[in-house]
Symmetry: C2
Subunit: 413 residues, 2 copies
């Protein structure tokens, strides 16, 4: 993309009420626009990052045989009364409204009940199981406060997956496959090394659920990990988990972390409540075993910003960056011709380039490339051209090298 | 995709309250699930059709230099009070709710005001113009009645585009480019021949707006077209438009049609209300010229179903079909081997195949292929294999041919 065509501008100032670092950086760099507290719009640059994250998640969910669907935002009261989750005293994040005839409706803050209700139409027999479905959907949650930028908003994008099984063993086996898929997601997003599967509080149906927690100073959680990083436990279940696992609490060290995924087993209790039964091989009616698996797409984007940003701006991992290369052209005709030809060549090879062809000072272009966090900056100037070199700078390390065109192309491929 | 892996089933019955033909067919064939009146979820098959339509629209909007963004569903009251469109007496389709501190919020039924408010942040000078942005977004509209299936729902997907210009001439020129892009969209969706750009009522800012209307018996509108199909006028502006165009009203014939797109010029009036000004070359402040361009994505899917369906079910144009081929395997080992190998070969060539590998009677498979509307059915049976032939049936014409493998591959490429 040519920056001269991009309508967003990098900004010096952010809205006065914006206190979160991820949103401040994303607004300044032109990835998001703040609509109101906890509600953000995404610009062309922001969409590219979101789509990169979605695509990683989509590929890994497809790889374990899950099928993509899309539910509705509008929710029927009756769907959620069955499990007593319509009541605002039980679920305090509902946005609700009413149809013109007075019928109450809610806006999806979760889709567990809605998807199970739908599945009643399709699951009749043990032959219809197992099934795994997921959606990438906008959730609306009426959070009392919204001060974490895109890490915890009132409107956000989430991938939620649900697996339905005839037996507990089948559910357990799929749950392990999903854990492996989640690990691949975090690896590919560049946060694999610092993301742990942890024991978390389980809610009504199991002793523990599992969270994926990413070490990150902006996180809201405290995690206790052992020295080899093989055990991680959320603070709220520290006593129970260490007792159950037979681990010395003193061997675990606290770190600040952000939740970046959450998975649950429901057993059959949810299906019993929702009357989701199937006819078994024995001809009898049995409740379905259920597990659910969530990853916040916008949240992951926020965690990545918080985790890697430095004092100059955002630092995107290559897998999620809106472009691999930020191309800076400095000087007159000759360097312009070289920059144009390099841009065309890289784009034709499928390498995404953000070409700063604007009429700006070199210093402003360098500062924008750093603020926007593009992994590699390539500078083309008259002086460099006369030496037949390109300046190649890593955003992450700040290191600069002078490369020939062949060396440059080899590095980017 | 193998149908044995698909969780939806074709159904004999539809919800008793579902009166629209498009929704009845889409529910029976397993493309959508009805959540409540006017609100539908989309299954893996439904998502494929939606994504095909979105992709056509996206490519054509990108081709005229528009940039994709995504706004929020949650809307601030203040944004819409400026143009007096918050008031329920003025706009009667708002869904509204409130934050926990009592602040009123709405859910986006349109994003005109929201996008213009955002653009105030980025448009400062004539150098920042023109800009064209679009989004593919879920709209929520509190329709009094919702009886048209996915053609007019309470929750639906729309592509809305907005172009901003420094001069009227530039706006007019882009408007013509957008009309050409829209025509390409309808061509590619298979409804180009029967879709007309019409004169429609213009609202507050111009004498006429333009609609794209598709001849379709399920439509809510009446269109008056001339014999050569070069002039089309909406019923509500028939008198004004024929007078202005100097056309004899009697030369126009009425046809039933469905709106499949709507484009407007706003002049500068909207920008003046929204205080969207730019500094011109003359150093003075000028209001922005604005036009908006909408296509309902889910509506287009509904119109296509209504337009082409026959008494056996849906008939998808190839560009939007979830698969090009419905592969039916009948019989024992030998035909199964042949069907598997054909499936692998077609998929490896990028030809999407719905492989009916279920343990079902041939008649049930044929009926499902017709109900689901896949353009070409290919049947592999032991008898056919012994003659080294494949049965190739067009969903649209019903014609069946016996083809060799090479002939079949040539036909599908």
């Amino acid at each position: 993309m040519r920056l001269s065509h991009n309508f967003t501008r990098t900004l010096k100032d952010v809205p006065a009420d914006e206190v979160s670092r991820n949103a401040q950086l994303l607004i300044r760099a032109g990835y998001v626009y703040k609509v109101m507290a906890g509600v953000y719009a995404y610009t062309p640059l922001g969409i590219k990052v979101l789509e990169n994250i979605k695509q990683v998640v989509r590929e890994e969910m497809n790889a374990i045989g899950s099928q993509e669907i899309i539910m509705s935002s509008l929710q029927r009261k009756e769907t959620w009364e069955v499990t007593d989750r319509w009541d605002d005293k039980k679920v305090d994040v509902w946005f609700k409204s009413a149809l013109q005839d007075g019928t109450e409706v809610g806006f999806g803050w979760s889709h567990e009940e809605a998807i199970l209700e739908m599945m009643r139409q399709y699951i009749k027999s043990y032959k219809d199981l197992p099934v795994s479905v997921y959606q990438i959907q906008t959730k609306l949650r009426n959070e009392l406060r919204a001060k974490s930028g895109i890490m915890r908003g009132r409107e956000f994008i989430m991938k939620d997956m649900y697996s339905l099984h005839a037996t507990e063993a089948d559910c357990d086996a799929y749950y392990e496959r999903a854990i492996a898929a989640y690990k691949r997601v975090y690896e590919r997003l560049g946060i694999g090394e610092d993301t742990f599967i942890t024991f978390a509080s389980g809610g009504a149906f199991t002793t523990f659920s599992h969270e994926f927690q990413t070490i990150c100073e902006a996180g809201e959680d405290t995690l206790f990990v052992n020295e080899s990083h093989t055990v991680a436990v959320n603070e709220e279940v520290l006593d129970d988990a260490t007792r159950e696992l037979g681990i010395d609490k003193e061997s675990l060290v606290p770190v600040v972390s952000a939740e970046s995924g959450n998975i649950f087993k429901f057993g059959t209790e949810k299906a019993e409540k929702m009357k989701l039964y199937f006819t078994g091989e024995d001809g009898e009616q049995h409740p379905v075993y259920l597990a659910s698996y969530g990853i916040g797409i916008t949240r992951a984007m926020g965690v990545i910003v918080e985790k890697f940003a430095d004092d100059k701006g955002i630092v995107w991992p290559t897998s999620v960056a809106p472009a691999l290369v930020y191309l800076v052209q400095i000087g007159q005709q000759q360097s312009l011709r070289h920059a144009n030809s390099l841009y065309d060549e890289l784009m034709s090879q499928g390498i995404e380039v953000m070409y700063d062809d604007r009429d700006e000072r070199p210093g402003a272009k360098f500062a924008d490339s750093e603020l926007m966090g593009i992994p590699y900056r390539v500078t083309v100037s008259d002086r460099l051209i006369s030496d037949e070199k390109y300046e190649f700078t890593s955003r992450k390390t700040g290191e600069t090298e002078l490369l020939t065109r062949d060396e440059l192309l080899a590095r980017l491929r």
